[in-house]
Symmetry: C2
Subunit: 352 residues, 2 copies
């Protein structure tokens, strides 16, 4: 997991982190933002932003094996969080553990991944530390600044707000599916953190979060923090990326599996209040990217969507928790999703 | 190891980190400081300082088992580096990996260690991330500021400068000795990063480095960066802490072993040019702490000291490398030190 927390893990981490001393100038409370934000008004920046994140589990599960991808993702996961709070990256520190006998080719490819990601995000490596260990492990700390605007938090969501994603979703879980279940699928996975898009988003959005851990887990966090739910606008198939939709069709896997799973695609989710939706969409017309409208925020907790003609109203935390309950057993997790799907689709309308 | 590098590891890490993109406002080059420094003039601070460091090896080797000590050290190792560059901590991020079934008592003691260290250094936990893993691992990132003065680097050392330590040395290695070789020795080990002392040091010192990895490893770095050596002022026994000197005597272990080993005591080493030595010592008279004069910087590389009446002139990198050469086998490392000692003390004067 990363900092994304659900019911079961929330108490553990609240217990752990909630008792550490907090900076009086820290803007956000625990979980309220994708990165930590310090008020620095009258300084060079209005806010300084900090985030550390690792890709330990992805490496351990062999989801990421290609050293280029490991380097690329080490930078991307952290930049994505800086983008989600609406900040501009100042730089990154890399903390690396790798075997003493790592070969030159591995290191070169890792460096290339780091460097190409830094070039895309126009950011630099400020420092780091290297330890030798039998297992590879990479974590990064990102530092960002926010000037002349307020940070984006995960809060400030109201019923009636519209929820968008920066692009169609599901590719993170589709990639995991291809790695774990069907190696004949050659799915490219190299997400670009939505730093550029966040410059427009931060002008309009009420709240923002990235989908580093998948859509449903992100919606679980937003729902808990704001005491709200989401009614999807249309069939879930319609918000899947092209490659993901293809796998859905050819392998006959329900669309929601790819939105529920814990491996995300590093898109940004953001809410736009109805009063400025028109203005936002007008400005979008001049942009090269076009967000996907996911649905409308509801006062009632939970997610509402259709599977075929079956209306589902479910608790996203319960779905997000399943991966943890499967304790790293991917096959068992897949079976749990299948059971839930059967449970939903047998009767006409179900509450999970 | 941490960021402290010696001959053998230097090329590996230079190769790895030297190819990452660097920030145009970064003041220091690779290895030139205990932490990374960004020029932020006209901002709230003149410089922003960043450092990430872990205590992976200490935990893996079971040198640190007590959760309070793990929490305390996680904060202290990073604050010590912020102190070494003459900066004031803004806050810390904690990256933690721990078993899912960690018991409440472990977590409480860890938190207590973190919190009491933060209180002593008047700093806060800004954030972090938590992952579950079968092994415990802790890393921290510290952020600091420097105002109205220049950062302290590891450079700017000239022959004739005096080298001081903030306190007598050797306790880090004495603690390791008690843990690995003689559990009857109940040595207290809870170093306090020299943040307070660094406020005076930064006014006078040419260069500064902490002894996180022990004295000889730190001297190896200073020698390489400045192309200088060190002539110790007196017997090495005289610069050992009381408890360390006791172990030397009772266990008949040469004093230099405790200065050469890789587990440090988190004191600061700093150089004072002869022209301001008097002024520095005058100001010290009003302080509660009194540094230890280690010796004088020489134009000739290497370390010069006496073992009894035997004059030794050695390359500190060669000594610092021994721990790596022993590949984590503490007994083998101890035997290597003994062999070196025999080699030195048999003839009258030796070059290692």
């Amino acid at each position: 997991m990363s900092d994304q927390v659900y019911d079961k893990e929330m108490s553990f981490i609240k217990n752990l982190a909630g008792k550490f001393p907090r900076h009086p100038k820290q803007l956000n409370q625990l979980y309220e933002a994708d990165a930590e934000i310090l008020d620095f008004k009258n300084g060079l920046a209005d806010y300084l932003v900090f985030k550390c994140d690792g890709i330990h589990e992805e490496i351990r599960a062999k989801l990421y094996e290609d050293p280029y991808l490991i380097g690329w993702m080490a930078v991307t996961v952290t930049i994505s969080d800086l983008a989600a709070v609406g900040s501009d990256p100042l730089g990154i520190l890399i903390s690396l553990q790798l075997p003493k006998d790592s070969n030159e080719s591995w290191i070169q490819k890792f460096q290339q991944g780091v460097n190409e990601a830094c070039a895309v995000y126009d950011t630099k490596i400020l420092g780091g530390d290297t330890n030798f260990d039998s297992n590879i492990s990479v974590a990064t700390t990102g530092i960002g600044t926010i000037e002349k605007t307020l940070p984006l938090l995960r809060k400030n969501i109201n019923p009636g707000d519209f929820l968008y994603a920066t692009a169609p979703l599901g590719k993170g879980n589709a990639f995991a599916y291809s790695r774990f279940f069907d190696s004949s699928l050659k799915l490219s996975y190299q997400p670009v953190a939505r730093l550029k898009e966040s410059k427009l988003i931060r002008k309009y959005a009420g709240a923002c979060i990235d989908t580093s851990d998948g859509l449903f887990p992100a919606l679980s966090i937003l729902g808990e923090l704001n005491n709200t739910g989401l009614k999807f606008s249309g069939p879930l198939e319609d918000i899947l990326s092209g490659e993901t939709a293809n796998i859905c069709n050819t392998a006959s896997i329900p669309a929601w599996f790819f939105l529920a799973g814990p491996h995300g695609e590093y898109e940004l989710l953001f809410t736009i209040p109805p009063s400025i939706k028109e203005e936002f969409e007008k400005e979008l017309a001049n942009e090269e990217w076009h967000p996907v409208l996911l649905g409308e925020i509801t006062a009632e907790r939970g997610l509402e969507f259709f599977i075929g003609k079956t209306h589902v109203h479910c608790n996203p935390s319960a779905i997000a928790n399943m991966f943890g309950e499967a304790e790293g057993n991917i096959l068992h997790y897949f079976q749990m999703l299948n059971q839930k799907h059967e449970q939903w689709t047998k009767p006409k309308s179900v509450l999970c």
